[in-house]
Symmetry: C2
Subunit: 571 residues, 2 copies
């Protein structure tokens, strides 16, 4: 493509409307323009990047045995009433009446439509398993659309739905999609992790989120630098070091600690490290008090506590509630003779001769030991993971990072098929509900996430598989016959060799062309400039790291080919 | 693809909801299923056919220098207010309020959105010409959706918009699209014509409709069997034979014709042919009477008369109005001394010594001649064309046929750019409105039209370029090791040779497989049946005409290749 013939309007300034990097760069690099809140037109450059993702998704879905179809965007309310979602979904579901006053909505997702098709067309276990997908425009009327394609109202999504005879079948389908997703995001050239996740409002039994790692993500996740382990903070399993603690048990002592209520103050006063103290936190679990013990320098992870206690809600008790429940002012609580339920983080069980509150104002106990001095109801993993903890899978070094959700796989079970009476006959002639899964990829969001992960101060740094053009050729002498002839020849040769190439044939200053090339983020730039006239060489520059090399025009095509193959092999 | 793994639900019976052939066959052949009125899910087989069209359209649009982008389906009302169409468009424009009570609509077309983009991004004549297109889902809330994909509410459309500096540029753009459309429909393997058309509600200066020829079309068109000429009935130019009429002028005679008012009755009574009589029809042109003369066996074409008179409306006058205007009862009217305006069809000027009414009850005149006995205000082409008229372009034989509109090219001019203040600076620094064109193809409709044109009693007959699979292999012995092995081997070989192939590996009776193969309409069928076990041969059958031939398994791939190339060369 020639730049002069392409609608590729770059902006020098950061648009005021853009709050995050990808949004800013996508506007500046002529990817898209806003039509109305959360609704964008994809201009040719942006659409080309989206198509790259779309094609990779389609190939891998087909490879996994899924079949493509296309469901409508306009859907009748009645179908949504069958699952109860017409009322439950909230105002994100855009509802309207058509000219005949029929209640309708714009599809934000297609569980109802696909389940309707399957219940009408498939009736026997012989028809299963089946996985049906589409790549289609969705609309969700977000209350506050923002961040460009990261949280838009109209967006392109791949959604797939699997139907199986039983749970075991559904798990095979789930695993196939999980593997396909891994291939998809790898092929996109992205750093990502699959993390186990809560399934959220869509319902179902278990799910994974696929997160593109980027500093600007919305979710905090824990990843291992040495293996594939990844988890949302609240789900990350803490694996404590196995300590063979042979320290002899010392005698229990009561110590006066006047006015020392905080961990740091007590430690300083007593000359110990926070790792030698056990703090006692009182929580209200569905309103009832429970004491949680954990090492002085640790934090409770509410979700883990909730799961252990089997309650809907946990909340740190305020001072008054603590006093009401225990008769002890906050700061001097301890597990010895405390009048409420006590649970302990697993780490406490490995500690000896630690310090706790004495359940008496201005006093603490030292040389306390679990088992000898007090008992607990349960010992479990109750704290937040830290980067000092080893990877629970391989023992490797953990990192905290931010992630952008780009894909989600759900094992739905039979909730939709049961409410919609979608049944088949099994091999014994019994009627059974289909066991379903659903699998989404935010196709347009992947492009935004790729940019969040791959950019620098000058602009986008496209992974090769997502770049609209792999190469941009800068003709720095559009009014110079020699440079123009060489640029045009190279442009033709690159096209013939199968490259997608942009020829910057604009009558602009070199500085402006360099700036735009960086902003647009194509993986390689070839400059035909003064050194061509002087020495007969062109410059190849790799966008990612600025690595440059010179070569004669006859060597460029082969050199670019091998450089691009290197990039593809890297990811 | 294996039939057993594909969602391809065929129906044996004609569905009650289907009124036309394509609708019936698309439901029976598992193309699609209705979700709600005029809204369909495209199942995998139907989507594959649509994608064939889509790919051809995209390739030819790109070849013509157009750039693909993607505009939103949800559009703000305010943009539509700028052109006045928010109020003018009628209830086909589906309007709604979003959660923030903003007035919005679902885009039935995108003139407003594209003009908004262009006015924001392009400011100089140097940026022009440009042609931007998308392949996108549209919604038009038709009052009575019917005929399946022929008149649906939600459908897939390619819409392109060109922007030029002046009329001459716009005409070049128009011609490029016209040529691209011819290539597109040729490549689809369809018989079609481009006919000059009224531009309809969308506004603009001139337009062509691309019509797929089919007996079940909605429009009547005149086509030449010998050249490319085609026109809508109302626009078809009549070219009358040049007659060197040397018959001497005879003396005017008044003849009593008691009670003879109709052309046939007068002719029979006077012993003449209708071609020797000139009838005088009184029309009300915007309410004022005008007499129209034409040969006894011809019909007036209202649109031509309207255009000649430059009026908004013409209407045949009722008897009372005729008498009020002329004082003569209907049936005895003639041009000699008639007290109202007279215009004549061109054919009348070639006639001599003809019969007309005498403007007196029960009398006609014979041997009347234009110029000697009366004058007219204008002589013009005013009548409907017939299949007896020669082609106005080449003199060839004309036919009347029905057509299905699948594409439309419009030269829009500056109506949109003026109302939306979309301007650029020309080479002299003057502000000018963009000169626009717009160009649509009903992508999903093309598939329906292709089926209307290509089917028989047994099902669809796909043109090779649109067929989801070029070949279906029927394994008639899924429980027979030899036949199955041969079928599977052929299936693999065909795939490796680049064919899109369906393997019918279902455990069904041969009759059922043959029926489905015919219904689905793939261009070639290969049967692996008893003759393979007996003689080691397979049968190739061409769907179009039932031509069959036998060949050994090693020869099938090459034979199919050459047969398919023959088909492609035919169209």
């Amino acid at each position: 493509m020639r730049y002069t013939q392409m609608l590729l309007p770059t902006l020098k300034e950061n648009p005021a409307e853009a709050e995050v990097v990808s949004h800013r760069l996508m506007l500046r690099a002529g990817f898209m323009r806003k039509l109305t809140s959360g609704v964008y037109t994809y201009l040719p450059y942006g659409l080309a990047a989206i198509r790259r993702v779309e094609n990779i998704v389609r190939e891998e879905m087909n490879r996994a045995g899924a079949q493509e179809l296309m469901m409508p965007m306009v859907q009748p309310a009645d179908l949504w009433r069958e699952t109860g979602r017409y009322d439950k979904y909230g105002p994100e579901l855009l509802r309207f009446h058509d000219r005949h006053e029929r209640e309708s909505c714009l599809g934000p997702t297609h569980e109802e439509v696909i389940t309707d098709i399957v219940r009408r067309e498939l009736h026997s276990y012989r028809d299963l398993p089946i996985n049906l997908y589409q790549i289609q425009t969705k609309f969700r009327d977000e209350i506050r659309p923002r961040f460009g394609l990261m949280r838009g109202r109209e967006f392109l999504m791949k959604d797939a739905y699997s139907f199986d005879v039983d749970d075991a079948g559904a798990e095979v389908a789930y695993r196939k999609m999980y593997d396909a997703y891994k291939r998809i995001f790898s092929r996109c050239g992205l750093k990502f992790r699959a993390v186990q996740a809560d399934s959220g409002a869509i319902g179902g039994s278990f799910s994974h989120e696929f997160m593109v790692l980027a500093k600007t993500g919305e979710d905090t996740i824990v990843v291992c630098g040495d293996c594939e382990y990844a988890a949302n903070m609240e789900k990350a399993v803490v694996k404590i070091a196995e300590i063979d603690n042979t320290e002899p048990l010392a005698d229990l002592e009561k110590v006066e600690t006047p006015g020392k209520r905080k961990v740091d103050a007590v430690c300083e006063f007593m000359g110990i490290a926070p790792s030698q103290l056990v703090k006692t936190m009182v929580y209200l679990a569905d309103g009832k008090p429970v004491a949680v013990l954990l090492r002085g320098d640790r934090e409770v992870e509410d979700v883990k506590l909730k799961n252990l206690l089997g309650v809907a809600d946990v909340e740190l008790a305020e001072d008054k509630a603590v006093f009401d429940a225990t008769g002890v002012p906050t700061g001097y609580l301890g597990p010895v003779n405390i009048p409420i339920r006590v649970v302990a983080d697993q780490e406490v069980a490995t500690m000896r001769n630690f310090v706790v509150g004495a359940n008496e104002k201005n006093y603490h106990l030292k040389n306390v030991n679990l088992g000898r001095d007090f008992e607990v109801e349960a010992v479990a993993d109750l704290r937040q993971i830290t980067t000092e903890d080893p990877c629970p899978q391989c023992g490797g070094k953990l990192e905290l990072t931010e992630g952008i959700e780009v894909g989600h796989v759900f094992k739905l079970g039979t909730s939709y098929s049961e409410s919609m009476k979608a049944v088949f006959q099994d091999s014994e002639g019994q009627e059974k509900p289909f066991v379903m899964g659903c699998y989404g990829i935010g196709v347009s969001r992947v492009v935004a996430a790729a940019i969040e992960q791959n950019h620098d101060d000058n602009g986008i740094i496209f992974p090769v598989p997502l770049a609209p053009f792999q190469v941009v050729v800068l003709n720095l002498g559009v009014n110079d016959g020699v440079m123009t002839e060489a640029s045009e020849k190279l442009y033709r040769e690159l096209q013939e060799a199968g490259f997608d190439v942009l020829l910057d044939d604009r009558d602009e200053r070199p500085g402006s062309k360099f700036k735009d090339a960086d902003l647009l983020g194509m993986p390689f730039r070839v400059t035909v400039g003064k050194s061509f006239t002087k020495n007969g060489t062109m410059e190849i520059r790799r966008r990612r790291d600025g690595f440059t090399e010179e070569a004669g025009p006859d060597a460029i095509v082969a050199l670019l080919k091998s450089r691009i193959n290197e990039e593809l092999a890297r990811s």
